[in-house]
Subunit: 157 residues, 2 copies
DNA sequence: GCTGAAACTCATACGGC
DNA sequence: GCCGTATGAGTTTCAGC
Protein backbone atom coordinates (compact mmCIF):
# COMPACT_ATOMS: atom_id res chain seq x y z
CA UNK A 1 0.00 0.00 0.00
CA UNK A 2 1.34 3.35 -1.08
CA UNK A 3 0.44 6.66 0.58
CA UNK A 4 -1.55 8.13 -2.25
CA UNK A 5 -1.48 11.84 -2.90
CA UNK A 6 -4.86 13.40 -2.27
CA UNK A 7 -6.27 16.29 -4.26
CA UNK A 8 -8.91 18.79 -3.15
CA UNK A 9 -11.77 16.56 -4.29
CA UNK A 10 -10.45 13.66 -2.24
CA UNK A 11 -10.18 15.83 0.85
CA UNK A 12 -13.69 17.19 0.29
CA UNK A 13 -15.03 13.64 0.02
CA UNK A 14 -13.26 12.66 3.24
CA UNK A 15 -14.69 15.68 5.03
CA UNK A 16 -18.21 14.75 3.96
CA UNK A 17 -17.74 11.17 5.08
CA UNK A 18 -16.42 12.24 8.47
CA UNK A 19 -19.50 14.39 8.85
CA UNK A 20 -21.89 11.64 7.70
CA UNK A 21 -20.43 8.20 7.14
CA UNK A 22 -23.61 6.91 5.55
CA UNK A 23 -24.02 9.77 3.09
CA UNK A 24 -25.10 8.46 -0.33
CA UNK A 25 -22.60 8.83 -3.14
CA UNK A 26 -25.04 11.09 -5.00
CA UNK A 27 -25.20 13.51 -2.05
CA UNK A 28 -21.42 13.60 -1.66
CA UNK A 29 -21.11 14.19 -5.41
CA UNK A 30 -23.42 17.18 -5.28
CA UNK A 31 -21.63 18.73 -2.30
CA UNK A 32 -18.15 18.39 -3.76
CA UNK A 33 -19.19 19.40 -7.28
CA UNK A 34 -18.70 16.15 -9.16
CA UNK A 35 -21.00 13.53 -10.66
CA UNK A 36 -21.56 10.26 -8.77
CA UNK A 37 -19.29 8.09 -10.93
CA UNK A 38 -15.91 9.68 -10.12
CA UNK A 39 -16.91 9.99 -6.48
CA UNK A 40 -17.57 6.25 -6.34
CA UNK A 41 -14.23 5.54 -8.00
CA UNK A 42 -12.33 7.84 -5.63
CA UNK A 43 -14.11 6.28 -2.70
CA UNK A 44 -12.95 2.79 -3.65
CA UNK A 45 -9.42 4.15 -4.09
CA UNK A 46 -9.49 5.78 -0.64
CA UNK A 47 -10.72 2.56 0.95
CA UNK A 48 -8.25 0.33 -0.88
CA UNK A 49 -5.29 2.56 -0.01
CA UNK A 50 -6.24 2.56 3.68
CA UNK A 51 -6.91 6.30 3.88
CA UNK A 52 -10.42 5.29 4.94
CA UNK A 53 -9.81 2.58 7.53
CA UNK A 54 -13.50 1.83 7.91
CA UNK A 55 -16.86 3.23 8.89
CA UNK A 56 -18.43 3.27 12.30
CA UNK A 57 -21.58 4.39 14.06
CA UNK A 58 -21.01 6.91 16.84
CA UNK A 59 -22.85 5.17 19.65
CA UNK A 60 -23.60 7.10 22.83
CA UNK A 61 -21.37 5.58 25.53
CA UNK A 62 -24.02 6.10 28.18
CA UNK A 63 -26.55 4.00 26.26
CA UNK A 64 -24.15 1.05 26.35
CA UNK A 65 -23.52 1.39 30.09
CA UNK A 66 -20.16 3.10 29.59
CA UNK A 67 -21.04 6.67 30.34
CA UNK A 68 -18.36 7.20 33.00
CA UNK A 69 -14.77 7.74 31.89
CA UNK A 70 -11.52 7.80 33.85
CA UNK A 71 -8.02 8.53 32.59
CA UNK A 72 -5.44 6.17 33.99
CA UNK A 73 -1.68 6.36 33.63
CA UNK A 74 0.20 3.14 34.17
CA UNK A 75 3.82 2.44 34.97
CA UNK A 76 5.27 -1.02 34.38
CA UNK A 77 8.00 -2.64 36.48
CA UNK A 78 10.07 -3.25 33.35
CA UNK A 79 10.05 -1.62 29.90
CA UNK A 80 11.50 -4.42 27.76
CA UNK A 81 9.67 -5.53 24.63
CA UNK A 82 8.10 -8.63 26.12
CA UNK A 83 6.72 -6.74 29.12
CA UNK A 84 5.09 -4.15 26.84
CA UNK A 85 3.65 -6.84 24.57
CA UNK A 86 2.11 -8.73 27.49
CA UNK A 87 0.54 -5.64 28.99
CA UNK A 88 -0.80 -4.52 25.61
CA UNK A 89 -2.37 -7.91 25.00
CA UNK A 90 -4.16 -7.66 28.33
CA UNK A 91 -5.36 -4.14 27.52
CA UNK A 92 -6.66 -5.25 24.11
CA UNK A 93 -8.83 -7.84 25.83
CA UNK A 94 -10.44 -5.37 28.29
CA UNK A 95 -13.56 -3.82 26.73
CA UNK A 96 -13.44 -1.10 29.40
CA UNK A 97 -10.22 0.26 27.87
CA UNK A 98 -11.45 2.42 24.99
CA UNK A 99 -8.17 4.20 24.32
CA UNK A 100 -4.54 3.37 25.11
CA UNK A 101 -1.27 5.12 24.22
CA UNK A 102 2.33 4.17 24.84
CA UNK A 103 3.98 7.32 26.21
CA UNK A 104 7.38 8.89 26.57
CA UNK A 105 8.29 10.38 29.94
CA UNK A 106 7.63 9.30 33.48
CA UNK A 107 4.52 7.22 32.83
CA UNK A 108 4.47 4.29 30.40
CA UNK A 109 0.83 4.19 29.28
CA UNK A 110 -2.14 6.54 29.16
CA UNK A 111 -5.53 4.83 29.09
CA UNK A 112 -9.11 5.95 29.02
CA UNK A 113 -11.40 3.56 30.88
CA UNK A 114 -15.16 3.68 30.27
CA UNK A 115 -17.53 2.02 32.74
CA UNK A 116 -21.08 2.52 33.98
CA UNK A 117 -19.98 4.47 37.08
CA UNK A 118 -17.46 4.87 39.87
CA UNK A 119 -18.21 1.53 41.60
CA UNK A 120 -17.77 -0.35 38.32
CA UNK A 121 -14.56 1.53 37.69
CA UNK A 122 -13.23 0.56 41.13
CA UNK A 123 -14.09 -3.09 40.45
CA UNK A 124 -12.24 -2.97 37.14
CA UNK A 125 -9.25 -1.17 38.63
CA UNK A 126 -8.59 -3.41 41.61
CA UNK A 127 -9.93 -6.63 40.12
CA UNK A 128 -8.41 -6.52 36.67
CA UNK A 129 -6.16 -3.62 35.70
CA UNK A 130 -3.83 -3.78 38.69
CA UNK A 131 -3.48 -7.51 38.02
CA UNK A 132 -2.50 -7.02 34.36
CA UNK A 133 1.02 -8.34 33.67
CA UNK A 134 3.86 -6.01 34.66
CA UNK A 135 1.82 -3.22 36.25
CA UNK A 136 3.85 -1.41 38.90
CA UNK A 137 1.75 1.67 39.66
CA UNK A 138 -1.41 3.43 38.54
CA UNK A 139 -2.67 7.00 38.75
CA UNK A 140 -6.29 7.92 38.01
CA UNK A 141 -7.68 11.26 36.84
CA UNK A 142 -11.41 11.81 36.67
CA UNK A 143 -12.84 14.08 33.99
CA UNK A 144 -15.92 16.19 34.55
CA UNK A 145 -17.03 16.46 30.95
CA UNK A 146 -15.94 15.93 27.37
CA UNK A 147 -15.57 19.32 25.71
CA UNK A 148 -14.67 18.16 22.21
CA UNK A 149 -13.98 14.97 20.39
CA UNK A 150 -15.53 11.59 19.87
CA UNK A 151 -14.99 11.51 16.15
CA UNK A 152 -11.62 12.62 14.82
CA UNK A 153 -11.94 16.05 13.31
CA UNK A 154 -15.73 16.05 13.50
CA UNK A 155 -16.01 19.53 14.95
CA UNK A 156 -13.22 20.96 12.88
CA UNK A 157 -15.45 23.49 11.20
CA UNK B 1 -35.52 12.63 24.27
CA UNK B 2 -35.93 9.72 26.64
CA UNK B 3 -33.19 7.16 27.31
CA UNK B 4 -34.82 4.21 25.63
CA UNK B 5 -34.35 0.74 27.02
CA UNK B 6 -32.37 -1.46 24.66
CA UNK B 7 -32.96 -5.17 24.21
CA UNK B 8 -30.48 -7.76 22.96
CA UNK B 9 -31.40 -7.14 19.32
CA UNK B 10 -30.72 -3.42 19.68
CA UNK B 11 -27.32 -4.07 21.23
CA UNK B 12 -26.49 -6.57 18.49
CA UNK B 13 -27.42 -4.00 15.85
CA UNK B 14 -25.24 -1.38 17.55
CA UNK B 15 -22.32 -3.79 17.68
CA UNK B 16 -22.62 -4.49 13.97
CA UNK B 17 -22.78 -0.78 13.16
CA UNK B 18 -19.73 -0.01 15.27
CA UNK B 19 -17.87 -2.70 13.35
CA UNK B 20 -19.11 -1.49 9.94
CA UNK B 21 -21.06 1.75 9.85
CA UNK B 22 -22.05 1.27 6.22
CA UNK B 23 -23.30 -2.30 6.62
CA UNK B 24 -26.51 -2.81 4.62
CA UNK B 25 -29.66 -3.40 6.64
CA UNK B 26 -30.03 -6.83 5.03
CA UNK B 27 -26.58 -7.89 6.26
CA UNK B 28 -27.23 -6.64 9.79
CA UNK B 29 -30.57 -8.44 9.74
CA UNK B 30 -28.95 -11.74 8.85
CA UNK B 31 -26.26 -11.41 11.52
CA UNK B 32 -28.66 -10.55 14.33
CA UNK B 33 -31.31 -13.07 13.25
CA UNK B 34 -34.12 -10.75 12.15
CA UNK B 35 -35.63 -9.76 8.81
CA UNK B 36 -34.67 -6.39 7.29
CA UNK B 37 -37.89 -4.56 8.19
CA UNK B 38 -37.62 -4.59 12.00
CA UNK B 39 -33.91 -3.82 11.76
CA UNK B 40 -34.69 -0.72 9.72
CA UNK B 41 -37.34 0.34 12.21
CA UNK B 42 -35.06 -0.20 15.21
CA UNK B 43 -32.33 1.70 13.41
CA UNK B 44 -34.55 4.74 12.98
CA UNK B 45 -35.52 4.50 16.65
CA UNK B 46 -31.88 4.35 17.74
CA UNK B 47 -31.03 7.37 15.59
CA UNK B 48 -34.04 9.41 16.70
CA UNK B 49 -33.40 8.72 20.40
CA UNK B 50 -29.77 9.79 20.07
CA UNK B 51 -28.29 6.39 20.95
CA UNK B 52 -26.68 6.58 17.52
CA UNK B 53 -25.29 10.11 17.39
CA UNK B 54 -24.18 9.74 13.78
CA UNK B 55 -21.97 7.85 11.39
CA UNK B 56 -18.42 8.64 10.46
CA UNK B 57 -15.61 7.38 8.26
CA UNK B 58 -12.45 6.44 10.16
CA UNK B 59 -9.94 8.49 8.21
CA UNK B 60 -6.24 7.80 8.72
CA UNK B 61 -4.87 10.84 10.55
CA UNK B 62 -1.57 10.63 8.70
CA UNK B 63 -3.27 10.94 5.31
CA UNK B 64 -4.77 14.25 6.40
CA UNK B 65 -1.43 15.60 7.61
CA UNK B 66 -2.26 14.96 11.27
CA UNK B 67 -0.25 11.87 11.98
CA UNK B 68 1.61 13.29 14.99
CA UNK B 69 -0.23 13.52 18.32
CA UNK B 70 0.68 15.26 21.57
CA UNK B 71 -1.22 15.21 24.85
CA UNK B 72 -1.39 18.61 26.47
CA UNK B 73 -2.71 19.48 29.90
CA UNK B 74 -3.75 23.06 30.41
CA UNK B 75 -4.25 25.13 33.53
CA UNK B 76 -6.27 28.34 33.39
CA UNK B 77 -5.64 31.41 35.52
CA UNK B 78 -9.24 31.36 36.73
CA UNK B 79 -11.87 28.60 36.87
CA UNK B 80 -15.09 30.62 36.78
CA UNK B 81 -17.78 29.77 34.22
CA UNK B 82 -16.95 32.56 31.78
CA UNK B 83 -13.25 31.66 31.70
CA UNK B 84 -14.05 28.02 30.93
CA UNK B 85 -16.55 28.99 28.23
CA UNK B 86 -14.07 31.30 26.50
CA UNK B 87 -11.29 28.73 26.53
CA UNK B 88 -13.64 26.01 25.27
CA UNK B 89 -14.83 28.21 22.43
CA UNK B 90 -11.22 28.74 21.37
CA UNK B 91 -10.53 25.01 21.56
CA UNK B 92 -13.61 24.22 19.46
CA UNK B 93 -12.25 26.46 16.71
CA UNK B 94 -8.81 24.78 16.58
CA UNK B 95 -8.85 21.85 14.13
CA UNK B 96 -5.61 20.60 15.71
CA UNK B 97 -7.48 19.82 18.94
CA UNK B 98 -9.06 16.42 18.26
CA UNK B 99 -10.03 15.66 21.84
CA UNK B 100 -10.59 17.81 24.93
CA UNK B 101 -11.75 16.97 28.45
CA UNK B 102 -12.50 19.18 31.44
CA UNK B 103 -10.74 17.51 34.36
CA UNK B 104 -10.86 17.36 38.13
CA UNK B 105 -7.58 17.67 40.02
CA UNK B 106 -4.51 19.79 39.49
CA UNK B 107 -4.88 20.39 35.75
CA UNK B 108 -8.00 21.95 34.21
CA UNK B 109 -8.04 20.42 30.72
CA UNK B 110 -6.59 17.43 28.94
CA UNK B 111 -6.24 17.83 25.16
CA UNK B 112 -4.97 15.70 22.35
CA UNK B 113 -3.38 17.78 19.60
CA UNK B 114 -2.86 16.27 16.15
CA UNK B 115 -0.47 17.94 13.68
CA UNK B 116 1.79 16.89 10.83
CA UNK B 117 4.91 16.77 13.01
CA UNK B 118 6.88 18.29 15.87
CA UNK B 119 7.61 21.64 14.12
CA UNK B 120 3.93 22.10 13.31
CA UNK B 121 3.04 21.23 16.90
CA UNK B 122 5.50 23.84 18.20
CA UNK B 123 3.98 26.45 15.89
CA UNK B 124 0.50 25.63 17.13
CA UNK B 125 1.57 25.59 20.77
CA UNK B 126 3.40 28.91 20.93
CA UNK B 127 1.42 30.69 18.23
CA UNK B 128 -2.10 29.71 19.14
CA UNK B 129 -2.73 27.52 22.18
CA UNK B 130 -0.71 29.57 24.68
CA UNK B 131 -2.58 32.64 23.42
CA UNK B 132 -6.01 31.09 23.98
CA UNK B 133 -8.05 33.06 26.55
CA UNK B 134 -7.19 32.33 30.19
CA UNK B 135 -4.31 29.89 29.65
CA UNK B 136 -1.89 30.03 32.60
CA UNK B 137 0.35 27.00 32.02
CA UNK B 138 0.76 24.05 29.70
CA UNK B 139 2.42 20.65 29.99
CA UNK B 140 3.04 18.43 26.96
CA UNK B 141 3.41 14.64 26.85
CA UNK B 142 4.47 12.93 23.66
CA UNK B 143 3.15 9.46 22.87
CA UNK B 144 5.19 6.90 20.98
CA UNK B 145 2.31 4.89 19.57
CA UNK B 146 -1.42 4.27 19.85
CA UNK B 147 -1.97 0.82 21.29
CA UNK B 148 -5.76 0.72 21.16
CA UNK B 149 -8.61 2.98 20.25
CA UNK B 150 -9.71 5.21 17.45
CA UNK B 151 -13.27 4.01 17.35
CA UNK B 152 -15.06 3.59 20.66
CA UNK B 153 -15.25 -0.07 21.47
CA UNK B 154 -14.00 -1.21 18.09
CA UNK B 155 -11.50 -3.67 19.48
CA UNK B 156 -13.80 -4.84 22.24
CA UNK B 157 -13.85 -8.44 21.08
C1' DG C 1 -43.92 -6.70 16.81
C1' DC C 2 -42.34 -9.75 12.92
C1' DT C 3 -42.88 -11.50 8.02
C1' DG C 4 -42.99 -11.11 3.12
C1' DA C 5 -43.80 -8.60 -1.20
C1' DA C 6 -43.98 -4.32 -3.92
C1' DA C 7 -42.29 0.42 -5.00
C1' DC C 8 -38.63 3.25 -4.86
C1' DT C 9 -33.89 4.94 -4.10
C1' DC C 10 -29.19 4.19 -4.57
C1' DA C 11 -24.83 2.02 -6.17
C1' DT C 12 -22.06 -0.04 -9.89
C1' DA C 13 -20.68 -0.71 -14.69
C1' DC C 14 -20.26 0.76 -19.35
C1' DG C 15 -20.09 3.64 -23.52
C1' DG C 16 -19.05 8.31 -25.05
C1' DC C 17 -16.54 12.62 -24.60
C1' DG D 1 -10.48 11.59 -15.95
C1' DC D 2 -15.36 13.07 -15.99
C1' DC D 3 -20.33 12.69 -17.55
C1' DG D 4 -24.78 10.24 -18.44
C1' DT D 5 -27.36 6.18 -18.74
C1' DA D 6 -28.77 1.40 -17.64
C1' DT D 7 -28.89 -2.53 -14.67
C1' DG D 8 -28.90 -4.65 -10.34
C1' DA D 9 -28.66 -4.35 -5.34
C1' DG D 10 -30.49 -2.27 -1.21
C1' DT D 11 -33.97 0.40 1.38
C1' DT D 12 -38.56 1.56 2.71
C1' DT D 13 -43.45 1.02 2.96
C1' DC D 14 -47.58 -1.58 3.53
C1' DA D 15 -50.83 -5.46 3.98
C1' DG D 16 -51.31 -9.68 6.66
C1' DC D 17 -50.48 -12.57 10.72
Amino acid sequence: METAKLDDFDRAILRELQRDGRAPVAEIAERVGLSPSPVARRLRMLEASGVIAGYTAQVDEGALGRGFSVFVSVKLDRQVDEALAKFEAAVAAFPEVVDCWLMTGARDYLLRIATAGLPEFEAFLVGRLTRAPGVASIESSIPLRRVKGGAAGLSCR
